[in-house]
């Protein structure tokens, strides 16, 4: 989207269209001639995978809506109707339910990739913040979707999470009543969650377009973290290079996804959600879906309810400030040995929080969750700002081509595949 366009309309019709709506040019510049750093590894394929998953969720979701009934006495039965009577209904539903989990697997890998390679640093701050917004919208969508089958976990999960808003001083209770559309989680709650669950994915799609736009303005980061200096030496054209690599990665991801859909479709869910919602019976142990568990652990780690809610939301909001919290000029952890160690500690802490979120709270788990929660915030608020000032990074390669040279040890074929079109960006 930046730089010269290399698109040449090949016939009368495409010339005619190009002068009126250069949409083919847009697609060509974005997905064919677009220069991508040649040293990208497979962690850069998750953006494409995420786009695929968004489309998959929307397509399966739209068909599910044709058979689903958003009414509290009929919702559970309509999901069973989908599973039993609708042609390939079981497939649609398992694709959709497991698709949500796969979406989060991909987004977490995508985000940790960004953390590792410093992809949030200038000039990619807006790109990163748009990503954080997508993540928030995904969390909201997944939460509301999980309510729709109206099982015990749907109901009680909705109850626990919406009740959090009652912690807000003064207006809290009114806000909760307003969210519920009554004095408890009931049919009006289900109806509005259904409406929003339908809407939000399209908002996500909108923000994804902005996200990709921002990406195409600033260009992709890469494992070396140094910017593109020479388009001919440092980049290759999106097609066929990135398309084949992304295509291969997507297929591998689909195999992983299929394993869950076809062989263990209920593993990521909770058995209690096959019990119809019952306001009078509280499940022994209310747990959210796995992808919220680290945040749920943070929520429970704080002794006060309001404090917990604030901590939980700040844990996500904090990410938006990352470009300014990290003071290091060097992007990639490859050249920041100390940061690299802290990165892995953060990964372990996040996994640990996820585990703790799944456990019934006891003195032991709460104690560890408090340490991990403190560490999570310390990582972003103390370690990252200070590390940039004190850490001595390794020597950076002068260019991407240089970095590849150092890795492969041969100059062979360098510059040979300079298929990317000349570009003003650098």
């Amino acid at each position: 989207m930046s730089g010269h366009s290399s698109y040449t309309p090949s016939n009368g019709f495409s010339r005619w269209l190009d002068n009126r709506l250069p949409i083919v040019r847009l697609a060509h510049d974005s997905f064919v001639s677009y220069p991508t750093p040649r040293n990208l590894n497979y962690f850069w394929t998750f953006g494409g995978i995420l786009s695929l998953m968004l489309v998959a969720q929307i397509v399966t979701g739209i068909v599910l809506v044709m058979h689903y009934t958003p009414e509290s006495t009929m919702a559970f039965g309509s999901v069973e109707h989908i599973m039993r009577d609708v042609n390939y209904g079981w497939l649609l539903r398992y694709l959709h339910a497991n698709g949500a989990s796969m979406f989060f697997v991909a987004v977490y890998l995508h985000m940790f990739r960004g953390l590792y390679y410093g992809s949030y640093k200038a000039p990619r701050e807006v790109l990163w913040i748009l990503g954080v917004i997508i993540f928030l919208l995904m969390m909201a969508t997944g939460f509301m979707g999980y309510v729709l089958p109206w099982g015990q976990m749907s109901f009680w999960g909705a109850k626990v999470i919406t009740s959090l808003f009652s912690a807000i001083p003064i207006v809290g209770d009114s806000v909760t009543t307003w969210l519920w559309g009554g004095y408890s989680v009931d049919n009006p709650t289900l109806n509005r969650f259904f409406s929003l669950h339908f809407l939000l994915p399209f908002m996500i799609a909108g923000v994804v377009i902005l996200h990709v736009w921002a990406l195409h303005v600033v260009g992709q980061n890469n494992p070396s973290g140094v910017e593109v200096t020479d388009v001919n030496k440092d980049t290759v054209a999106f097609t066929p290079y990135a398309t084949t690599k992304d295509g291969f990665a997507m297929l591998c991801f689909l195999i992983f996804y299929s394993w869950f859909v076809f062989y263990v479709p209920n593993f990521l869910g909770h058995a209690d959600n096959y019990i119809p919602a019952n306001a009078l019976v509280t499940p022994a142990h209310i747990v959210p879906e796995w992808y919220y568990l680290p945040f749920y652990a943070i929520l429970r780690a704080v002794p006060s309810k309001l404090g917990g809610v604030i901590a939980m939301f700040s844990a996500i909001a904090l990410l938006a400030f990352l470009p300014w919290l990290d003071t290091s000029k060097v992007r990639s952890a490859t050249f920041r040995p100390v940061y690299r160690a802290f990165f892995w500690i953060l990964v372990i802490v996040c996994l640990g929080l996820g585990y703790l979120g799944s456990q019934p709270p006891t003195d032991g788990t709460t104690f560890v969750a408090r340490i991990f929660t403190s560490y999570y915030f310390m990582h972003f608020l103390v370690i990252l700002p200070l590390l940039g000032l004190f850490e001595t990074p390794l020597k950076l390669p002068t260019s991407i081509a240089d970095a590849i040279l150092a890795k492969t040890g041969s100059a062979a074929a360098m510059g040979h595949a300079a298929v990317a079109e000349p570009n003003t960006k650098g």
Binding site: T244, L251, W259, V261, F262, Y263, Y274
Partner: protein, 285 residues
């Protein structure tokens, strides 16, 4: 780097230590149900249709006296990948029931013989009646019961995590039927000193060890005509298999479709990998 690794390991040990007392407090001396051999487990699993037919018999003669199964219609008993009763058998099975229908042209409700298209009727008029007949406890609907129960083989770190990962890799999804078999055979005399309120029964598998349902199965209770042993254990396995089918009637179709999808995706991915390698062959990266 070594120092960091040692520190990480020490941290891990400390965390595991802090988590383990949690389990000691939590323990409700529950027996972990045994893993059964199911014909429908694994990537190529299919239901044993004769077993489902026997399981239906047990359900029909014993469980359905208290439990409903409202998402199941008689016609489903003839579905492919189910008990696969013949059409005429299904008709006969449905006709054993009286179904309340109506209103007719005169505005009156009437009773008629069941048809294949009818859903399984319930003995009780409503949940209140069911509760009243069962000492205040509601027998849960059985349509998805086999997916609505699960258990953990251990609840201490890291055994729980490794078991979960193992379940995904080995495709162990039969927690529900294993639980049901365990529950049905888990009745025992309470240990000395344990008070059991009237109307409750001691069960090793039920969470909390107390269950309102009296032991429903005993040897010889249901007549089998195919020579299968008429024991309570055999009944429990057959009825659990039947309940799994009721909860997941498309299991066979799912696993068959899954195999085709996997073969297709793996071939396609392999092909793509070669294409990708060719494309990148002359580019250092």
């Amino acid at each position: 780097m070594l120092k960091i690794k040692i520190a990480l390991f020490a941290g891990f040990v400390a965390v595991a230590g802090a988590l383990s007392p949690a389990t000691a407090q939590e323990a409700h001396h529950n027996l972990v149900p045994e893993k059964q051999n199911w014909s429908f487990s694994g990537p190529f699993g299919t239901y044993d249709h004769a077993q489902l037919q026997r399981g239906y018999r047990v359900f029909r003669e014993v469980c359905s006296n208290c439990h409903s199964m409202k998402f199941m219609a008689f016609r489903n008993l003839a579905d492919k990948g189910g008990p696969e009763f013949s059409e005429s058998q299904v008709k006969a099975l449905a006709a054993e029931y009286k179904i309340k229908d109506g209103p007719n042209d005169a505005g009156e409700m009437y009773e008629r013989a069941g048809r294949a298209s009818d859903y399984f009727p319930w003995t009780f008029a409503n949940p209140e009646a069911a509760k009243a007949a069962n000492g205040g406890a509601l027998p849960p609907d059985m349509s998805v019961l086999a997916k609505a129960r699960s258990f953990h083989r251990c609840d201490w770190f890291p055994c729980d995590v490794s078991n979960a990962l193992l379940d995904v890799v080995t495709q162990y999804q039969e927690h529900g039927p294993d639980y049901i078999v365990g529950l049905l055979n888990g009745y025992a005399t309470p240990p000395a000193g344990e008070e059991i309120a009237p109307g409750l029964n001691y069960n090793l598998v039920m969470p909390g060890n107390k269950i309102a349902m009296a032991k429903p199965l005993s040897d010889g209770q249901v007549d089998y005509t195919d020579g299968t042993p008429k024991t309570a254990v055999q009944y429990s396995r057959d009825v659990a298999a039947f309940l799994m089918w009721a909860a997941e009637p498309k299991l066979e179709e799912r696993k068959k479709t899954g195999f085709r999808a996997m073969v297709f995706l793996i071939l396609f991915a392999t092909l793509m990998w070669f294409v990708k390698r060719r494309v990148w062959a002359d580019v250092a990266h």
